[in-house]
């Protein structure tokens, strides 16, 4: 009796242990399956995020590089900087480039360093000049990062997109600051309080005219002539109503906010560095804008009858 009871107990114990073992192993298998499935899904997910870990083709790289070059040209970098940035990035991808920068278009031949028959020539049209130094400085940083951090094609493309789409300073703040700037310009030329006030007002109206006209994509030359005309007409009222003792200074400094300083300096820099053709193109552009400012000023002076003074 005692022996039989012991036997039954033993069998019970064994069967319990076996059952526990089976449950544990089943759970483990299930957990492992879940883990495997999860990792598979995760891996697939990663694959969809980064579809091409393979090297980008020569067409893709050429497109990206010309996009960056055109953006630099539009935002007001000088030719030497464009060439340096672009060849630095191409170097990292294992290509060498020849770049011709013109006012209206950019021409680039990209050649593989390993296989020189693998080459491509791309021509990209430039958009008209819209100064944005934040983009210039960020793109230069991007080119150095490409060189130093081994960024992949996709990372560069993503960062380029981020840089190009970032927001500008609010146009109303710019309007006020330009007004203050031109007013202090007038004070630098020893204008009295009336002149400074008049110039502030004239600049606000003139610059607002320019912003609105540029938004409507009107020809640059017409924009500059009209803004200069409006601003100098307002500032010339100082002469008509005999405000203060220096109406001459008010009239002279009212149109100075239009002077295309950056294109002028860029053109001389280009000429000094040997990119004579681009430099002259920029110089002619800037000079024609200055002539337009003079025409606007001239017109309002004739209307107000100031040439007899």
């Amino acid at each position: 009796m005692h022996k039989k009871q012991l036997e039954i107990q033993l069998v019970q114990r064994f069967s319990k242990a076996f059952a526990i073992l089976v449950i544990i192993s089943l759970t483990a298998k299930l957990l492992y399956d879940i883990y495997y499935l999860c990792s598979l899904i995760f891996y697939l997910f990663q694959m969809t995020i980064k579809p091409n870990n393979t090297l980008a083709s020569i067409q893709e790289i050429a497109d990206l590089l010309t996009d960056i070059a055109a953006e630099l040209m539009t935002t007001g970098a000088h030719t030497m900087r464009i060439t340096q940035n672009i060849s630095r990035m191409a170097e990292k991808f294992g290509y060498s480039i020849e770049l011709s920068v013109f006012q209206l278009s950019i021409m680039m031949t990209i050649t593989s360093k390993i296989d020189s028959t693998n080459r491509l020539t791309v021509i990209k049209k430039n958009r008209p000049l819209a100064l944005n130094f934040r983009i210039v400085s960020d793109l230069s940083a991007l080119s150095w990062d490409t060189f130093d951090k081994n960024l992949t094609y996709d990372e560069i493309k993503l960062r380029f997109h981020d840089i190009v789409t970032q927001k500008r300073i609010s146009r109303w703040l710019v309007l006020i600051l330009v007004g203050c700037a031109n007013a202090s310009f007038c004070a630098l030329f020893k204008g009295d309080l009336y002149a400074v006030g008049l110039v502030f007002l004239a600049t606000l109206v003139g610059f607002f005219t320019r912003q609105e006209m540029i938004k409507k994509h009107i020809n640059h030359l017409i924009v500059f002539t009209t803004s200069a005309f409006v601003a100098s007409l307002l500032a010339g009222l100082g002469y008509v109503f005999h405000l203060g003792t220096t109406p001459e200074v008010a009239l002279a400094s009212s149109v100075l906010f239009l002077i295309p300083g950056v294109p002028l300096i860029n053109s001389i820099l280009d000429i000094i560095e040997g990119h004579v053709l681009t430099g002259i193109a920029r110089l002619v552009n800037a000079s024609s804008l200055i002539v337009c400012i003079a025409v606007g000023l001239f017109t309002s002076m004739l209307i107000l009858g100031l040439e007899k003074l």
Partner: protein
């Protein structure tokens, strides 16, 4: 002949130039640090030019050249500090030195010359036109060449300022 009155004038001049530089800098949308630096450089440059003209008695285009090359050198220094291309803040800080009044007088001289029939007066207007026009041109050239000289002397440095390592 540097006295307190002169220093006061120079400081006022520099402050006005700084305001002007901030206004002209925001048109080209730089970062905030670059705006601050361009205001500082404009104040230094324009104050220096004012001092050179009025206390050292230098001619305006020569003084402009000295001030512009000073701005160019300092801009490369600041470019290394804040990792930003030098021209981003050296260009706006030059703008307060643009000879607007001379340019205006050039145009005025031209208009007067065109409208007068008295040949003696016309000679005077032509003289005005050439004097002011040449001054405008030389000051512009002095500005540009002055600011780009340091870039030509240190090409490696000025192209690698945005590198962070």
């Amino acid at each position: 002949m540097i006295n307190t009155e002169m220093i006061r004038l120079i400081v006022i001049d520099g402050a006005l130039a700084a305001i002007a530089a901030i206004g002209f800098a925001v048109i080209s949308n730089p970062s905030r640090k670059a705006i601050a630096v361009s205001a500082l450089l404009a104040a230094i440059g324009h104050g220096l030019r004012f001092g050179l003209i009025h206390s050292a008695g230098l001619e305006i285009s020569l003084a402009t050249f000295v001030a512009a090359s000073c701005i160019g050198l300092l801009s490369i220094l600041f470019a290394r500090i804040i990792h930003c291309p030098a021209e981003v803040f050296s260009f706006p800080s030059l703008l307060p030195m643009i000879p607007g009044l001379f340019a205006y007088r050039t145009i005025l001289g031209l208009i007067k010359f065109m409208r007068t029939s008295d040949s003696i007066k016309a000679q005077g207007f032509m003289l005005d036109f050439f004097h002011n026009g040449l001054t405008t041109m030389f000051v512009l050239f002095a500005l540009v060449v002055g600011v780009s000289l340091p870039v030509l002397f240190f090409p490696k440095t000025s192209f690698s300022v945005t590198r962070k390592y």
